[in-house]
């Protein structure tokens, strides 16, 4: 017992002195740093870009009352943005440090957007640099912008009373619970580094005083090659992942529409002859949905079976057309190549880029309309 007592007597001063060592590592106090929320890149040719960053400014002041009470900084005068010309692949945090009145920290970056020219130029430098940086979160959203990133990030005329970065992020994330496939940095890098697949991002545009999703921007490795429009995104997500709460609008005759809201969609793939010149890819899609809006007299409980057949036909046809479009361009955002690999022992990966356009895509969609609303 006596010995124990002695050791504690020695230990207490030692442990107290350890607290002085904490000064060895710099501290970042929340009030004394500028947190970068969003980063935008506009390509201006010749390896040069215009980079824009936004930081929320938590100073109380000119924002509207409603936004203050929720703690969300108001847009406009409260968000500080910086933009300047630099070369591709440089960290904007280092670049703008000279212009920031406080230390810039990128640990909470929510969003990175690229304009179309930047995406066409290729994101190679951007991505290897993002993959290396341990500070950045992996769940940040990426997007391609039609138009100008700088304009989107610095505009003051949005209706939304929140910072533009949060606005864009909410736009992307809420839509990815519905028609849009889930996209974030981790998923983009998954497809970018993975073999036999290509990444994609949502495509956004500023339309007057608000932003809108225009569809998906499809990349070939790091370069933007094509986009698919908003109305085909349901098909894309249907072939890409299991989801619910999407809406598919079918025009079954001129001016006559039925909208199917799916409550469950599952996809399973099966591949035959994976190493032959023309592999057969079988996609089996199961859609369970409900109809809540339709042209008058288009659907009733009695006719729902035949309407389901119509949906099956339309979905199958359009899904095949979509895949065919990808095959023509030689891009594989649906990761079909990876599906073929997973079904084929000793998959011949070297010749896959040549075989991919010739692959037969068979799609079988079964639609089950669970309910047609509360009136006949």
């Amino acid at each position: 017992m006596r010995k124990k007592h002695n050791s504690t007597q020695i230990l207490i001063p030692i442990f107290c002195s350890l607290f002085f060592l904490s000064g060895c590592v710099p501290t970042y106090i929340f009030d004394d740093i500028m947190i970068i929320e969003g980063i935008g890149y506009d390509y201006i040719g010749n390896g040069k870009i215009i980079g824009t960053i936004t930081t929320p400014n938590f100073v109380q002041g000119t924002g509207s009352g409603g936004s203050q009470s929720t703690g969300v900084p108001a847009n406009g005068p409260m968000v500080r943005t910086l933009s300047a010309k630099t070369y591709d692949g440089k960290s904007l945090i280092d670049k703008f440090q000279a212009e920031g009145q406080m230390g810039l920290q990128g640990g909470k970056t929510r969003l990175m957007i690229y304009n179309k020219a930047m995406a066409k130029h290729g994101l190679l430098r951007q991505l290897s640099f993002r993959n290396r940086d341990p500070d950045l979160p992996r769940d940040m959203n990426l997007a391609v912008v039609e138009g100008n990133c700088r304009e989107i990030l610095t505009s003051n005329d949005y209706q939304a009373q929140m910072s533009v970065t949060q606005y864009i992020q909410n736009l992307i994330q809420d839509n990815s619970r519905q028609n849009y496939p889930e996209t974030d940095l981790a998923k983009f890098l998954y497809a970018y580094y993975g073999a036999y697949m290509d990444p994609f991002m949502p495509l956004i545009r500023k339309q007057g005083d608000h932003l809108e999703l225009r569809g998906l921007a499809i990349f070939k490795k790091d370069r933007y090659v094509m986009s698919i429009p908003n109305k085909k995104v349901f098909l894309f997500k249907m072939l890409f992942q299991k989801f619910n709460q999407g809406v598919y609008d079918m025009q079954y005759a001129h001016g006559k529409h039925i909208a199917l809201r799916n409550v469950h969609t599952a996809i399973s793939y099966y591949v035959r002859n994976g190493n032959s010149a023309t592999p057969d890819i079988y996609a089996k899609v199961k859609v369970i949905g409900q109809v809540r809006q339709a042209t008058p007299k288009a659907i009733s409980k009695r006719t729902s079976q035949s309407v389901a057949k119509l949906f099956e036909k339309s979905l199958t046809y359009n899904a095949k057309a979509l895949v065919h479009q990808f095959q023509k361009k030689g891009v594989d955002p649906l990761q079909l190549g990876d599906q073929v690999r997973s079904f084929t022992y000793h998959f011949d990966g070297a010749s896959w880029p040549d075989r991919y356009p010739n692959a037969h895509f068979h799609c079988q969609v079964s639609v089950n309309i669970q309910q047609t609303g509360i009136s006949n």
């Binding site: 442990f15 350890l18 060895c24 710099p26 950045l136 981790a186 993975g194 599906q339 997973s342 022992y345």
Partner: protein
């Protein structure tokens, strides 16, 4: 030399579960996936499974060897070697084992400091950190084996949220990444199974504290259970990693576990990876303490004059010095790479060999079973 261990300083049979557990699930858990999936790609989990099952076999030889040894004296590795190989060779082997333990500690400590430097504090000084850390180790080790057992137990409890973090990955997993199963040659799978040794090292420390366990009969079950649990954790992590990363992305990632923690997002706090990194720091305390304690035991058995109280200073100073000598990531990688064959020879070859010698000796002396 074989002083009786007082009943008060003994630990319960569950220690055979918690102490190897704390040693096995350590720093390697953050980084081993890339090494294991290097050649067998999606079949990496089979390699981990093979190695995990091999640990069960080694554990069986270890336990039977220690059980037989009880008749002749103290049942720990140091006195066992002296008895089986003769005093001189036995002591040389004891020193070799001491070097191995020291090497193991330094690899783990430096590996973790590297992760802290990369992910949390870029300016963290290796020397000051290991100095502060060794104060804690000193405090724990001076408290004796019961104290060390306590830290092992706590580190297991604290690490539970870290293991549960795997659940967040399941919705984003691509299970088709695991197919086709057994595509790679047995050679590729076995060679990466060899590389996975790094992950499962640590259960051999049971051989040092075995005489301190009460009711060793019950401890047996706990020991196997601990190994199975470590196997389960590693298998779960490797499968989740293979399904979460594409092969290309996995090969471009040094700490896959850290990287997928970055994808976990909560509304109220971000950077769960840093929180988990600090929790994993808790795991380092018991593993370093057990190592330092085993080293003091070894020194005491080689040279009974040196008391544990004094040898611990020398050991910790040695650990601090060598840890701060390893300066950059490339050297750390080399050290980690070296630990694999060394650990493989000591644990998977030398211990069964020792068991064989024991059996041979028993046969030759015509002992009454």
């Amino acid at each position: 030399m074989a002083a009786k261990i007082s009943e008060a300083s003994k630990i319960g049979p569950t220690s055979a579960f918690f102490i190897p557990q704390a040693m096995q699930v350590g720093v390697g858990f953050i980084s081993f996936q890339q090494i294991v999936t290097d050649s067998p790609e999606q079949d990496g989990w089979i390699s981990v499974l093979i190695n995990g099952l091999a640990t069960l076999f080694v554990m069986w030889t270890m336990l039977s060897m220690l059980e037989n040894e009880k008749k002749y004296g103290q049942a720990d590795l140091f006195s066992l070697q002296c008895r089986l190989l003769g005093k001189r060779i036995g002591n040389i082997m004891n020193i070799v084992i001491l070097c191995y333990i020291c090497f193991y500690t330094i690899t783990y400590l430096r590996g973790f400091i590297e992760i802290l430097q990369v992910e949390v504090f870029p300016q963290l000084s290796t020397f000051y950190f290991s100095l502060m850390f060794c104060f804690i180790i000193w405090y724990v080790v001076m408290g004796g084996i019961r104290n060390i057992f306590g830290t092992c137990l706590l580190s297991f409890i604290y690490a539970v949220p870290v293991f549960l973090s795997l659940l967040f990955i399941i919705p984003h997993a691509h299970f088709s990444n695991l197919l086709p199963i057994m595509e790679h040659s047995p050679r590729a799978i076995l060679s990466s199974s060899f590389m996975a040794t790094h992950e499962f090292l640590g259960f051999e420390y049971l051989m040092f504290f075995y005489p301190f366990i009460k009711q060793t009969k019950h401890a047996k079950r706990w020991a196997y259970f601990g190994l199975l649990n470590a196997l389960y954790i590693h298998l779960a992590i490797i499968i989740v990693t293979i399904t979460f990363f594409s092969q290309g992305a996995l090969q471009a990632t040094i700490w896959p576990t850290m990287t997928y923690w970055k994808s976990i997002h909560f509304p109220l706090f971000e950077h769960i990876d840093i929180i988990f990194c600090i929790i994993m720091l808790w795991n380092l305390i018991p593993s370093t303490s057990v190592c330092s304690w085993a080293m003091t035991r070894g020194i005491k058995s080689i040279c009974p004059k040196i008391k544990m109280k004094y040898s611990i200073y020398g050991i910790l100073i040695l650990i601090i010095l060598i840890t701060s000598l390893i300066q950059n990531g490339e050297q750390i990688k080399e050290v980690h790479r070296l630990l694999v064959p060394v650990g493989f020879i000591v644990v998977y070859l030398y211990i069964p060999f020792l068991s064989f010698i024991q059996w041979l000796k028993k046969r030759l002396s015509g002992d009454h079973t």
